[in-house]
Symmetry: D2
Subunit: 144 residues, 4 copies
């Protein structure tokens, strides 16, 4: 059984506001299914960068994506504003399962929800590496 991420705003913290773009809309006039995943890796990585635990250019540890998933409930369309909520569903030894709720404008129920699993590896060797204490401390507030 696949446990689904919840879909109320109260189930997530923090939120990142993401502007939609003209080209996000596909031929049916709604944000294309692919684009939601760009919101997912934006909210995850931006959180990590802002907390100082991911240095994209020079860090010794990087996150590799091993699994992603999305359920789509209601359409979003440019120029809507996306509010991407984040939570941590599992904080493993070297991996993290993030859950994301995608909310449209001021709506309170998620338009979509998904998950995103990162394995953290040594940039040079590409081998999994245990999460540092600093990294765990940055994520624990999201793991409630």
């Amino acid at each position: 059984m696949t446990r689904l991420a919840p879909d109320r705003r109260a189930d997530y913290r923090p939120f990142l506001v993401i502007s939609t773009r003209w080209m996000d809309n596909d031929v049916y006039g709604h944000v294309n299914n692919v684009v939601y995943y760009s919101y997912f890796d934006t909210v995850v990585n931006q959180y990590l960068v802002e907390r100082g635990v991911l240095d994209i250019d020079h860090g010794a540890v990087i996150g590799l994506v091993v699994e992603t998933r999305c359920h789509y409930f209601r359409p979003i369309a440019f120029p809507d504003v996306v509010h991407a909520g984040l939570r941590v569903a599992r904080l493993g030894n070297s991996s993290v399962r993030y859950e994301i709720g995608i909310f449209r404008n001021d709506e309170m129920r998620a338009a979509a929800r998904g998950h995103f699993v990162h394995v953290y590896v040594d940039r040079a060797s590409n081998r999994p590496t245990p999460l540092s204490a600093q990294f765990r401390a940055a994520l624990e507030p999201l793991a409630g």
Copy 2:
């Protein structure tokens, strides 16, 4: 339990060859996780268009994506060529679960695999509509 799509070339038919693009690569030098989903909806929709059962501009029935998922095994990088294999895992009354294997160049094991669930709806009313006999006939060879 989530049944995973298989990962050998023999498990899929047909295949679509998709060229990678410079901008598919992300900062770590590999095709970004998001881009795999653009391969998924390309192989599904191109199959439907070529079989004459999806008319993007004028058809009365369109496919809405309700769920997608991807497991990533090995990296792909521009200028690799992607071979996207398709199969139908479930042919429902008004929905189809497609499974996709993503193969890099001439490799025989999938670099990634995923699924993609379409619900077919009436374009005007947005309500699910039973798959036509013609549509089912186009997909049955993939459902074996």
Copy 3:
């Protein structure tokens, strides 16, 4: 000779704030040259939608892009915030030449500048159509 758009914030009005995304960065760690054009058509179309002179789904008149150009001065990188400034350089009978300045975070000199030429056509016939009085009124404040 190609007249270049100016590159100070004071040369543009209005501004649209656009969030960058993880996948905007290419392998060299900066926003890929292609992505700037997605900022261009976002700022133009969002302005038109918000002024009520472009109805993406149902309007009788749509804008076709006939020419675009960009000069790149300084890099931008996720998670920077983009401030896209807009101006109208030429308000023709059925076409508009927009100029866009792309500013990074709180920088005062443009990181890039470009133009974007729309010809407005009848959606059904695809033939150029004179700009309506309402449309001209919406753009005149940008044509200073």
Copy 4:
């Protein structure tokens, strides 16, 4: 005056075949103006990689994009196949102006044409560096 790239197939060599993707189409049912630029940097970089004069991951010299432009003549739409023709309009000391013709399926007149200017810089210092003899040799056949 802006010299425009020519628009017959005979004006370009070599050609790269690029598959379109479902999400290339925008809400008006045609390949979005932004996406053409992804064809441009794909054909340029793929040519350089295949000739062995660009090593994306480890090369000491990389190409920075300083200017791009595109004129759009006729629409392309998924699932069309793009044939991207390349030529070199100017081979400078440390920069190259490429011209690209975008042809739809088996059409003989370009659907779009554009240019793409690369300045080659040292990856570490970011300063322009003269083109190597090997690099010039790779491009001279396109400069005819």
